[in-house]
Symmetry: C2
Subunit: 328 residues, 2 copies
């Protein structure tokens, strides 16, 4: 009997979860739920129904795990606690500063409904967080570094799109190679925001727009760009479509630390990702977490969880015997 | 109240565990146990007693977790089941092919004694295994690669030392850079043993020994060297001491895989270690696992475990709230 997964929200992430389910034979996509008109949504998996989100009120018998693919700003803070009382759920809530309050709200709802809710799944938060945790446990005396990119930041691309005269933008976050190399060499540099990453914008402007003004507005935008060295390239719509239609991303988490009676030995632990598709990779982490949510719920582990709380074997379809024989 | 850790066996690994305990304020080294004459063993932590291994028969009230620092060939297959019925234990059993039978023997003993026994802790098996597992769960369609080095292989160094006319040897395992780069580029090469690693031996020969014969015996030694391209350097005892007294190691685990409805997007996950001291890093992983063994035992999780069965948060001295707020 396979694990019946429902997806709420069919944007990039929902499609990423859909293709991940296709790669896991112990799971099936039970239905896609949308707040739009269901007839306007075409899913790519043959035979899967698109239903109104309202149907979730009475489908507990048909869905083992519901994956919430909304945004962290306004969707998930409402949706995850709401559905965690009715379904085992997984989300990718990624507003790091608000994780404690999100966890508390979801935990209360999930415990009330005796459901298991895994929050903040993906790669950061997610696999990067796990690697920060493991590395901190192994090397208590050390220094953490996280670099993102080269990859598309959707938040920064959206911020540029809101500037007057901008038709489209793709923003790439790029680690500074010299900073990355110094960290890898174990030099423990103290790095400012500007020294760690640069930002590169590919912008399609409206005809006749003041390009100098747009460039100035981008480079001086507080929070998003002012603290970085930013490069702006104006390109055509054709170039945007041809060269920037993907959503690649990646990055690395590095911890450098010392061991020995006098801290005399240095160590470098690095975890790095090179991803052709950010939403599909995130969807793949979510699919593994959906399996864990289902199995932990069967064993009575209710409430909110993160990857920190999941014994790794729960993420796998293989038995403990198989894992020990082939992967240990 | 700190976790009272005992160490059985005070070689390189035992000393690595000792220095790791010093870095974890929630742990203390309760005693070192040895099968040698206890008076011949000097430990580096002030005030810690060295006792005969026989004393372990009646020290259950003084030790929360016993770390077994013997070898995988003959010590651990006997010691870990024996002590797992009396203590929570951690070992670094690393004979991959025999892990299933070791697990079974330890599991039976630990369940009988209602103790928690974490086996095969370190980096391979250990952190490398964990990364193989996580990556396989995220990218079910893909290819695994493990590279070791550049680092000292003690098994290979010992094998050369057994050759007639050899006084000392240090053997370095070295990944082939071209192979590593092809994997990182996502080319999914099929690699033979010879294409993945080379071996480099630094040998101190006895005076008047036949160097050509020694070199030939090394390069043609079955299992250890015959399948590799091996370089042999004859050096003096002074050079050995000056240039090769450390035990550095490291390596990387890489999984390349695809996602998407047609497998159209490629991804590369890499976990890499650069270690100045192999035994101290292994000892640091063991210390974190000792904490997990202690906590899981208090919660009634008896029997044999591996890192696959340990929710990552159990490895940390920090609370779930702290971990979510600072590392997620």
């Amino acid at each position: 009997m396979s694990i019946r997964v429902g997806i709420l929200g069919y944007g990039n992430l929902g499609r990423g979860v859909e293709s991940a389910i296709r790669q896991n034979p112990d799971m099936e996509l039970a239905a896609v739920f949308t707040r739009r008109n269901p007839e306007s949504v075409k899913v790519r998996t043959a035979g899967v129904k698109v239903l109104s989100a309202d149907e979730l009120e009475h489908m507990q018998g048909d869905i083992d795990v519901l994956v919430l693919c909304g945004g962290s700003a306004t969707d998930l803070p409402v949706q995850t606690p709401k559905y965690a009382s009715m379904y085992n759920v997984v989300d990718s809530f990624d507003t790091h500063a608000r994780i404690p309050e999100h966890f508390a709200a979801v935990d209360e709802a999930a415990k009330q409904g005796q459901k298991t809710a895994v929050i903040s799944c993906g790669w950061d938060p997610g696999m990067f967080s796990l690697n920060r945790l493991y590395s901190n446990c192994i090397l208590p005396e050390g220094q953490d570094y996280t670099f993102w990119g080269r990859g598309v930041s959707q938040g920064h691309s959206d911020a540029v799109r809101r500037i007057d005269g901008v038709k489209d933008c793709r923003q790439y976050t790029v680690p500074v190679p010299e900073a990355l190399e110094a960290v890898r060499r174990g030099e423990n540099p103290v790095l400012t925001t500007r020294q760690k990453h640069t930002r590169e914008c590919f912008v399609v402007a409206e005809e006749g727009a003041d390009l100098a003004r747009i460039e100035h507005e981008i480079k001086t935008m507080p929070n998003y760009f002012a603290d970085y060295d930013t490069t702006v390239h104006f390109i055509t719509e054709e170039e945007m479509k041809r060269d920037h239609s993907g959503l690649p991303h990646g990055g690395c988490v590095i911890r450098t630390g010392v061991t020995g009676m006098d801290g005399e030995h240095k160590h470098v632990i690095e975890y790095s990702l090179k991803l052709d598709s950010n939403p599909e990779f995130t969807g793949s982490v979510i699919a593994a977490c959906a399996r864990a949510a289902f199995r932990m719920n069967r064993e009575g582990a209710n409430g909110a969880k993160t990857l920190f709380d999941i014994a790794p074997a729960y993420l796998s379809a293989k038995s403990g015997e198989e894992l020990r024989a082939h992967l240990l």
